[in-house]
Symmetry: C2
Subunit: 241 residues, 2 copies
């Protein structure tokens, strides 16, 4: 039986790492939702970088750059971390660079896995199909907030675990997957009510950036599954068929 | 408003650490349940040590020693990690040394907090009263299993968070406390059913060591709250009034 597990924080990744597994990186509010959206809008590739300095260096040599820290767009950047910034007229056919507070760091941490893909509620079924096609163990890596556990990424881990386990091909890899799946099954009927008192929603509201929250909770509106490759000079690039 | 938080694994402790908080270390199956039981049976003090080597060195100079690794009693030890090992005729009035796979390590990690106390379902209300009397923020440190998240310790975190929040003096410190509290409120009516498929129960059963599980889930049968002090030569000692 294949196993699906949920790693609640990048700080826990070393104990959930399995070199032969598919790692699904998730940062629902908003980095991975935004990356999937950019591919849906026609972006050709995304280079996730861990630091603002790297992103700014790319900007200086002419790249389009999305950059966010502590929910806000960095002043030098073309885009912030809202999925609504990445419209087809701006990104279709383009290669862009992207850095966010938590999400892009999680991608870097997981790079040694068999495959690293980008998950969000908006491509939930696409990610589940990808995992089942590859017939591999799956680890959902929650980006969290500065290594703290958050509700929304854990919920996504529970949702993906639920789809995979109900398919009959997967079982829970550990208690973490059981906890996340139960959160999902208890709350999927009203995600907004469950998310109402959570940390990140408060942060987004305080900065008038919660307009994208309902969009981030829509399920399976695209089949795009961005996949990480490590290219020449050790550069990380996300592409999607 | 005071805050109660739940740290799901020792590996996450650096991001939940607060030097002015009370840290409640929990390892339901079975280290902290066993330590509380030993105090209830009249033990005078417990020295938690992180390694088997330290425990064995104490044994060689005549101490009573409880020592467990991977659920089994170490061959040299007087006691294993079952609460039933610590009977009044063996431990009343005695000072003992104790080491377990996960629980004693968690105590060592949290030592820099304002106070470190030992929590379990069997002293749940006593720990809640202790926290409220001190009027301090609270962090529940789940011992987990080799840094992985487990259900039973997280449930205890949710139970303590629930008691403290319902008292009106505390609020959830982060999403982790919200997740744990929801697990507790959904499952408190039938803990055994919820724990049935979990990792640690399977390990205990495989070693015929699940006899103490119902005992470990009893609530508030003692008011003993073992408290950590750091004594001469940096030695850690647990005592209870």
């Amino acid at each position: 039986m294949l196993q699906v597990d949920v790693c609640f924080s990048p700080a826990l990744y070393p104990v959930y790492h399995h070199p032969e597994a598919i790692v699904v990186v998730v940062d629902i509010f908003r980095a991975t939702t935004t990356m999937v959206t950019a591919f849906e809008r026609g972006v050709r590739s995304i280079r996730p970088v861990a630091t603002v300095e790297e992103a700014e260096a790319y900007k200086q040599v002419g790249w389009l750059v999305g950059a966010e820290r502590n929910v806000k767009r960095c002043p030098f950047a073309d885009f912030g971390n809202s999925p609504f910034d990445y419209t087809a007229d701006k990104v279709a056919g383009k290669d862009i660079v992207f850095t966010t507070t938590n999400g892009t760091r999680a991608i870097t941490i997981a790079r040694a896995a068999f495959r690293v893909v980008i998950g969000a509620f908006i491509n939930l079924q696409g990610v589940a199909d990808y995992c089942r096609c590859h017939q591999r163990n799956v680890v959902v890596l929650c980006s969290g907030w500065q290594d703290k556990v958050n509700v929304e990424d854990t919920l996504f881990g529970g949702a993906l675990a639920d789809v995979l386990i109900r398919s009959g091909a997967y079982e829970a890899g550990s208690d973490a997957a059981r906890i996340a799946r139960e959160m999902w099954t208890h709350n999927q009927a009203d995600l907004m009510a469950y998310l109402e008192p959570t940390d990140h929603l408060a942060r987004l509201r305080a900065n008038q950036l919660d307009d994208a929250v309902p969009y981030c909770l829509q399920q399976s509106m695209t089949d795009r599954v961005p996949e990480l490759s490590i290219e020449e000079d050790n550069i990380l690039v996300l592409r999607s068929k």
